[in-house]
Amino acid sequence: MKILYFAHFREKTNVAEEDVELPAGLTDVNSLIDWLASRDDGFADAFRDRDHIRVAVNQEHVEFDTLIEGATEVAFFPPMTGG
């Protein structure tokens, strides 16, 4: 699965984009966040405050209870500030 990190997620994790093999048992975005946060201090810091995490699965903005099975692209970013 491809995972993308934008804005301060990229800065804190030091990763812009990666291809990962997910461990068994990850079902939804919530469990993916838990797993990512456990990887190292940078990831823990980036994923600490769930209120400020936004996620897109296959380029659609979704809620954390969205299932990720079969998803090809997941992206994490802070609340949007366009316009």
Binding site: A7, A56, A75, M80, T81, G82
Partner: protein, 150 residues
């Protein structure tokens, strides 16, 4: 009806003129240009960098533009949103809506810009005398977007 996500500046006047000239059913063209300000909530800004999510941005912008056409009787519309580094006074975004009636043009234009502020995958980083800072989402922008929820 079109969407452009680009690094380059745009000629707002030429785009508005093109849409006005589209067809003679157009009675009103509403447009909004968003610009980089020199001060944001009191702090001086020397430049701003807009990052976005290539692929998702274009897809989501096309979707919201289609929704605007479903909700209002629009004859035409255009969204241009830039990314990259911009200095105060530079144009960031252009939204143009054309309709037979002015109310539809105004509402659709405001709907689109309110949506762009909160739902389009763009993130702003400001260069200030204290260093670079990611811009926080504003509660007022969320409220503005919420008023269009059906």
């Amino acid at each position: 009806m079109s969407v452009r996500v680009q690094l380059e500046d745009f000629d707002a006047g030429a785009e508005i003129a093109k849409i006005s000239a589209t067809n003679t059913n157009v009675g009103g063209v509403c447009s909004f240009v968003g610009l980089v300000r020199e001060f944001d909530e009191g702090s001086a800004i020397t430049a701003m960098t807009l990052e976005h999510y290539p692929g998702m941005t274009e897809k989501q912008l096309a979707k919201i533009e289609a929704e605007a056409h479903e909700r209002w009787p629009l004859e035409d519309s255009l969204i241009i949103h830039r990314y990259g580094r911009m200095e105060p006074g530079e144009q960031i975004v252009l939204v143009v809506t054309a309709s037979a009636h002015r109310k539809a043009a105004f509402e659709a234009c405001e709907f689109l810009i309110d949506w762009l502020k909160t739902q389009a995958p763009f993130w702003k980083s400001e260069e200030t005398p204290d260093g670079a800072k990611w811009v926080d989402a504003k509660a007022a922008d969320d409220e503005a977007a919420d008023k269009w929820k059906k």
